[in-house]
């Protein structure tokens, strides 16, 4: 019985389910009978109740809705944005529907976002120093390098997201400009509350919203309104007695800031790094007060590794920097620094010179002493408002350098003494002004420099040329040189959609003068005009530079085009007086195309003209070093250079494989050929000869890197091949010279565990030179470095590194080096103790070989002996 009832109930249920389940199918169409996808179909009991079932129409407009437990009546609604909603009440039965939606003028109801929600959390990305600071960190640089995206390069330059930063502000003031390392490496981390990263920072307020900046700046926020901070460091070591000292006090408030620094060492550390200028100068200036040394000592090539292992110095550096905010937008800055250094260089060179007729060998033992005194200063007035930008910078730079050198040769001992004092002043004015909607930049750059130099060589050289073959006691080369220039321009930049165009019009004048005389002591015959110069060189130019840039929205194309034209006039007065007028057109083009996510292709080409400078225009001989006499008794050098390059880039960040292949070709045409007359004793005389000649060069480069995740190791390989051909004039014979150069570099970086990492890098170089068809000696060099780093405990750090150098000319096996560094931090007292033992094997010399078109030099450089240095540092 029970079963029967059950069966009846079951059947009843089934029937009612059949009744209650309704399936609606159909299509939704737009007015023009176009199938409509994405339309929403809902079923409810009536127009006001909630949804029972729904469907969304497919791409062909079809839909299917299953309604379980369907009520008596079904209310169907079909809707789509911008179309009138279709509504219909249906009977409870499965059916097929054809729905058409008509356009509607009704828009969706808008809801305005309440303004308080939009309020930003502040526009500046800032990092709290506390969050990143470690107990080992002393100065702000230690903390900075741990912040995401920030990297500090070995020289002290700060990069953010791979690009150098633009400004380093302390409380919004730009005290040190590009020489920010001084603050960065001495400001106590404890004094800083926040580091703000100003991304896409445009320091010039007039340019804000006119010129997009890709570079970032940093602003250091201090904890207190008035901050006195600084660092002190003292190091002692042996042997000989070594010291290292650094005291850098600083004072900051919102309107006035001051940093002073005194640093001294004899450990080979280059303190000049702390005053190095990392300012970013967007337009390289052709005119400046750079120091030119007309005479020099012969010195052995410096080793290719860190200079604290070979530089024998005794340096003192004092620097003072102040900034005062005069008005809200007007700052005055003064920076002064004085450097005094005494350096010793010892070494020997073995030079082999190949001439078409002969091979000349020279062996020299070198002992040089350099005395460097440099005083420089800068006063800057800067006004930075929304309407105007003005920056005037007055700068001076003076050197009082003298050098003494002794060269030992198999047959003689030659003493040299030179002095290269230098004085230079310059003034830079930049003014940005808006005219209506157009921004115009004026720039005026004026400078003056003077340098009176001498070189004494004892006993006198070049007896045949200078003294009819008779020996004489001393030769004295005197030089007086000066330079005065002014460069003025006005320019503007305009953005037209995806194009940016820049226009600049300017004129420049430069007047250089050179007086020189070579005097022989104890000689009765005065040297003639051939050994004197009284030359004046004027350069005038008017230039119009126009450039175009294009970047499409998806950034797949990036095109730059430059079409600068200039009219230049050169006027040389003196023994070699002549004029040259030239109209120059130097177009350049760069095209970059991102082909796909992984491939990128770029090509570029440009044409450049070069004209002789006074350094290559004097008609009378100058003794530039004890075995080199030089003159350019020839027309003004004119060079035309064409350069083309193409590069293909593959980048797969997922597989971590990166490949780059590039090729470049260059061809330079010159009207002059420089020829050397080399004597068996190694003395050489350089002269220029009028003859059109070409230099062709090809360069192939292939670079690949891959990260092996399983081994936590990255591998990098680089191969390059260069070939260049030129004509050479050696001992009055014309020779065709062909050089080939093949380099192979590889490196490995491996993190074996959290407390152990390894690195290795090695390079092989093959250098071949051919004079006419005769192959000269081939030179191969190799170099290997390996380092192990250990972090056994948190406050200790140990590194051990070894190096090996070898070249095919010598069997010198003592080119091994070993260094050890150990650091211990006293956590409680905020004091760092550091112990460095360098050159453990006490390698005396570094032996290296280098090669050029027609000579090979083998160098031996006397290194710092094995030494131990212990240092203590603290910040306040």
């Amino acid at each position: 019985m029970k079963h029967r009832y059950g069966l009846i109930v079951l059947i009843w249920c089934w029937v009612s389910v059949l009744n209650a389940q309704v399936i609606l199918t159909g299509t939704v169409k737009e007015e023009a009978n176009k199938n409509l996808s994405g339309a929403i179909l809902t079923i409810s009991k009536d127009s006001v109740s909630s949804i029972l079932a729904y469907a969304i129409s497919k791409s062909d407009g079809s839909f299917k809705i299953r309604i379980d437990n369907a009520p008596e009546k079904l209310f169907i609604k079909a809707s789509y944005i911008g179309l009138t909603t279709f509504k219909k009440t249906l009977e409870r039965k499965s059916q097929e529907l054809e729905i058409q939606l008509r356009p509607s003028s009704e828009a969706l109801k808008e809801v305005v976002v309440k303004s308080e929600i939009i309020q930003r959390r502040g526009d500046t990305l800032s990092f709290s120093v506390e969050a990143f600071k470690d107990k080992n960190d002393r100065v702000i640089a230690d903390v900075l390098r741990k912040m995401p995206g920030i990297e500090i390069k070995p020289g002290g330059q700060i990069h953010y997201q791979g690009k150098p930063i633009q400004k380093y502000y302390i409380e919004g003031l730009d005290l040190l400009e590009g020489r920010y390392s001084l603050a960065n490496e001495n400001l106590a981390a404890d004094a800083v509350s926040k580091v703000e990263i100003l991304e896409n920072h445009q320091p010039i307020r007039v340019l804000d919203s006119l010129e997009f900046s890709e570079r970032a700046s940093l602003n250091i926020k201090l904890k207190n309104d008035v901050t006195l901070s600084g660092t002190a460091k003292l190091g002692l070591g042996a042997t000989p007695l070594l010291w290292e000292a650094n005291v850098t006090p600083m004072l900051f408030n919102k309107k006035r800031q001051f940093i002073a620094s005194y640093q001294s060492n004899n450990t080979g550390k280059n303190v000049a790094n702390q005053v190095r200028d990392f300012s970013f100068n967007p337009e390289g200036t052709t005119y400046n007060i750079a120091k030119t040394d007309w005479v020099s000592l012969l010195n052995p090539a410096t080793p290719p590794f860190s200079q604290d292992r070979w530089l024998d110095n005794n340096v003192h550096l004092a620097s003072a920097n102040g900034i005062q905010r005069l008005k809200s937008d007007l700052d005055l800055k003064v920076n002064l620094s004085y450097l005094n250094d005494y350096q010793q260089q010892q070494g020997s060179t073995q030079t082999t010179i190949y001439t078409p007729q002969d091979t000349v060998s020279i062996a020299e033992a070198i002992d040089n002493r350099l005395f460097i005194k440099n005083f420089q200063g800068k006063a800057t007035l800067e006004q930075n408002t929304k309407k105007n930008y003005l920056k005037n910078q007055l700068e001076f730079n003076t050197y009082r350098n003298t050098q003494r050198g002794m060269v030992q040769r198999t047959d003689a001992e030659i003493a040299q003494h030179l002095s290269t004092p230098f004085y230079g002043f310059k003034n830079n004015l930049d003014l940005y002004k808006t005219f209506g909607k157009q921004l115009v930049r004026f720039s005026s750059n004026t400078g003056f420099s003077e340098s009176d130099q001498f070189l004494k060589v004892r006993p006198g050289q070049f007896e045949d040329v200078l003294n009819a073959g008779n020996p004489y006691a001393e030769s004295l080369q005197n030089i007086e040189s000066s330079k005065l220039y002014t460069d003025n321009s006005a320019g503007m930049t305009k953005m037209l959609g995806k194009f940016t165009t820049t226009l600049k019009l300017g004129f420049a004048q430069q007047k250089e003068s050179l007086k020189s005389a070579l005097v022989l002591e104890e000689s009765d015959t005065p040297l003639g005009h051939a050994f004197q110069n009284d030359t004046q060189f004027h350069t005038s130019e008017v230039y119009l530079q126009q450039s175009w840039r294009f970047k499409n929205t998806s950034e797949t194309w990036n095109i730059r085009l430059g079409v600068p034209i200039a009219f230049k006039a050169f006027d040389l007065e003196g023994n070699n007086s002549q004029n040259l007028d030239a109209f120059v057109f130097e177009p350049s083009a760069y095209i970059q195309h991102k082909v796909s996510a992984k491939w990128e292709l770029s090509v570029s080409g440009n044409l450049d003209y070069n004209f002789g400078r006074l350094e290559r225009l004097y008609p009378g001989f100058i003794l530039t070093n004890y075995r080199n006499l030089q003159r350019y008794n020839a027309p003004i050098l004119e060079q035309m250079a064409q350069n083309y390059s193409a590069s293909l880039n593959y980048r797969n960040p997922i597989k971590r494989l990166f490949v780059n292949a590039s090729y470049s070709y260059g061809r330079t045409k010159s009207n002059l050929l420089f020829g050397s007359q080399i004597d068996p004793n190694g003395t050489s005389i350089l002269e220029a000869v009028v003859r059109d000649n070409y230099v062709n060069s090809h360069r192939f480069n292939l670079e690949a890197s891959k990260y092996l995740s399983r081994l936590n190791t990255s591998v990098k390989l680089n191969a390059s091949y260069n070939i260049s051909e030129r004509e050479q004039l050696l001992n009055a014979a014309l020779a065709k010279n062909e050089n080939t150069n093949f380099n192979l570099n590889g490196s490995l970086e491996s993190e074996l565990s959290a407390w152990l990492s390894l690195s290795y890098s090695g390079s092989l170089r093959f250098y071949n030179s051919k004079l006419n068809t005769a192959a000269l000696q081939q030179l191969n060099t190799q170099q290997h470095n390996a380092e192990v780093f250990l972090y056994p405990w948190e406050n200790q750090y140990l590194s051990l590194g070894g190096e090996y150098f070898k070249n095919s000319l010598t069997d010198a096996n003592r080119n091994y080096f070993l260094n050890l560094s150990y650091q211990y931090t006293l956590t409680q007292k905020k004091i760092d103790l550091k112990l460095v033992w360098s050159n453990i094997l006490n390698t005396k010399n570094f032996i290296n070989a280098s090669s050029s078109e027609y000579y090979i030099t083998q160098n031996s450089y006397v290194l710092r002996p094995s030494q131990v240095l212990a240092s203590i540092s603290f910040s306040f």
């Binding site: 996808s37 994405g38 929403i40 909630s50 949804i51 729904y54 969304i56 791409s59 809707s79 944005i81 969706l108 109801k109 808008e110 809801v111 976002v113 309440k114 929600i117 939009i118 930003r120 959390r121 526009d123 500046t124 990305l125 990143f132 390098r145 995401p148 995206g149 500090i152 997201q161 791979g162 990263i197 100003l198 991304e199 896409n200 445009q202 804000d208 919203s209 010129e211 997009f212 900046s213 929205t553 950034e555 797949t556 991102k594 796909s596 996510a597 992984k598 797969n652 960040p653 997922i654 990166f658 890197s705 990260y707 990255s714 970086e749 990492s757 690195s759 780093f789 590194s799 650091q823």
Partner: protein, 269 residues
């Protein structure tokens, strides 16, 4: 010659139509929906709660979802350059999600900040098994109905409105008979609230070239993103350029700590 040319084009066409059937996406964006997303990246620290505005653009053929910060960081609009961070840097969410109306899959696009590396992965749109409840409430004047679902390891409650007849929502959420106005996971870690709807006049033209995007999958993109976050510098410079090892050690520790505080992503699984 002609045959070669034709077959070249044909082959190119075939290759480009494989996998991602379409390399270019083009259209106009008509409406802008704004959500306030409040989220807690560190599940162990309630104070780590942050909020950001997110935008869902509705177009004729597709929708695009991204952080409001990214919509402002348009390089042509350079106002506010001086002493300001471009707001681009301030977002936690660098991705965009494209849902094409006629397709069953959605696209997750990611450009590595400050780099030219772009990635995309496709996923099914139908990841949501919605349960519609009968409850209703009013949100900003729209009648919204409740629905629930599970997604990537979390359970969500959503409120949608049929008055905005588009089956879309913030992030990857979609599939309801109307726009999702609110959606929150049961623990309240990820909470999207509707704060605005605006008709765009004129419409914004949008164009996407998928050829510039490297096709990948969600797991490998998540791995790559983690690698970028743990060492942006290393990522940027062909990963092998390393500073001094002692600095690197500090660097790694600092980032490991930072990333350990981001233990609560929207998609747990």
């Amino acid at each position: 010659m002609r045959l070669y040319t034709y077959s070249f084009f044909l082959i190119t066409f075939l290759i480009s139509s494989l996998g991602f059937s379409q390399n270019k996406l083009k259209g106009k964006l008509e409406y802008k929906v704004t959500y306030k997303l409040s989220f807690q990246l560190d599940s162990t620290d309630a104070d780590s709660r942050k909020s950001e505005l997110m935008i869902l653009y509705l177009g004729e053929d597709f929708s695009k979802y991204l952080s409001r910060a990214k919509t402002i960081a348009n390089p042509i609009v350079v106002q506010g350059n001086s002493a300001h961070t471009s707001r681009n840097a301030l977002t936690h969410f660098h991705y965009e999600i494209i849902k094409e109306r006629e397709k069953d899959s959605l696209l997750y696009l990611l450009k590595i900040p400050k780099m030219e590396d772009r990635f995309v992965y496709a996923e099914s749109k139908q990841q949501f098994d919605w349960q519609i409840a009968q409850e209703t409430k009013t949100i900003e004047g729209f009648t919204a109905q409740k629905a629930t679902t599970t997604f990537a390891g979390r359970e969500y409650t959503a409120w949608f409105t049929t008055e905005i007849p588009i089956s879309d929502g913030p992030y990857k959420f979609n599939g309801l008979p109307g726009l999702i106005l609110e959606i929150t996971d049961t623990q309240g870690y990820w909470d999207f609230k509707f704060v605005g709807l605006e008709k765009l006049t004129p419409k914004i033209a949008y164009r996407l070239n998928l050829k510039q995007y490297e096709k990948t999958t969600r797991p490998s993109l998540e791995k790559l993103w983690h690698r970028y976050r743990s060492d942006p510098m290393g990522y940027a410079n062909n990963p092998n350029v390393v500073g001094t090892p002692e600095v690197d050690q500090f660097y790694r520790d600092a980032f490991a700590e930072m990333l350990s505080k981001e233990n609560n992503p929207l998609e747990l699984k």
